[in-house]
């Protein structure tokens, strides 16, 4: 079965600093990887996806993610964090359905 793991429940970053939210995957075959963000009392919003091609994927709101096959990782990154980036972030892998990680709560400290 395909799965993703998010090793950190909580990540705190000072505003203006770079941020990383970690994700590792376990799949058979080619991975189809996604990041979603959830703001309070809202649904999940698509941020970005990796299918094939460039290992650095750019997405919404200035986020990007780096696919690393040797480390089976797909970490979410942003060069300069904003307070408004504070939210719950989910990594996901897709075959016929989307399977989510456990989520990482990102808090940006002013």
């Amino acid at each position: 079965a395909q799965s993703v793991a998010q090793p950190e429940d909580q990540v705190n970053v000072a505003e203006g600093n770079p941020l990383t939210v970690k994700c590792t995957y376990s799949v058979s075959g080619n991975p189809y990887l996604f990041w979603y963000v959830q703001y309070p009392n809202r649904g999940l919003q698509f941020l970005l996806k990796y299918i094939t091609g460039d290992n650095l994927v750019k997405g919404s709101y200035g986020f990007e993610a780096e696919f690393n096959k040797s480390q089976t990782s797909f970490h979410l990154k942003k060069p300069s964090a904003l307070v408004s980036d504070s939210a719950l972030y989910f990594c996901a892998v897709r075959d016929a359905k989307l399977t989510f990680g456990t989520g990482t709560r990102l808090t940006i400290i002013p």
Partner: protein, 117 residues
């Protein structure tokens, strides 16, 4: 931008009662999903639906759950006899995903918060 809409936003029901959660997927999408999230924790897959039948379901989706697409626009999740542990946020999602192309993201609604008392 087209979006998935869910009603109601919050549903309170008594244990043992039946509830129906409603969703209007994006109009040209063909694949529909229900997920649930308990207390802001992990998002769990319940069921996927295509061509008027269930494509896949999880172990959570037992006999008390059912899904239906009663007309060309709505997609519903019915819980026949609710239990306390059914209290969760239920998300509907849709996709234009085709079976051999798995790069389409799912588009989620804002969810229905179900509280069973």
């Amino acid at each position: 931008e087209p979006e998935v809409t869910q009603t109601p936003s919050h549903q309170v029901t008594q244990m043992g009662q039946e509830v129906i959660l409603r969703c209007v997927p994006i109009s040209n999408h063909l694949y529909f999903y229900w997920y649930r999230q308990i207390l802001g924790q992990k998002v769990e897959f319940l069921v996927s639906f295509y061509n008027n039948e269930i494509s896949e379901k999880s172990e959570i989706f037992d006999d008390q759950f059912s899904v239906e697409r009663p007309d060309g626009s709505n997609f519903t999740l019915k819980i026949r006899s609710t239990k306390l542990e059914d209290s969760a946020m239920y998300f509907c999602a849709s996709s234009d995903f085709k079976p051999h192309i798995t790069n389409s993201p799912l588009h989620f609604g804002n969810g229905t918060r179900l509280t069973v008392t």
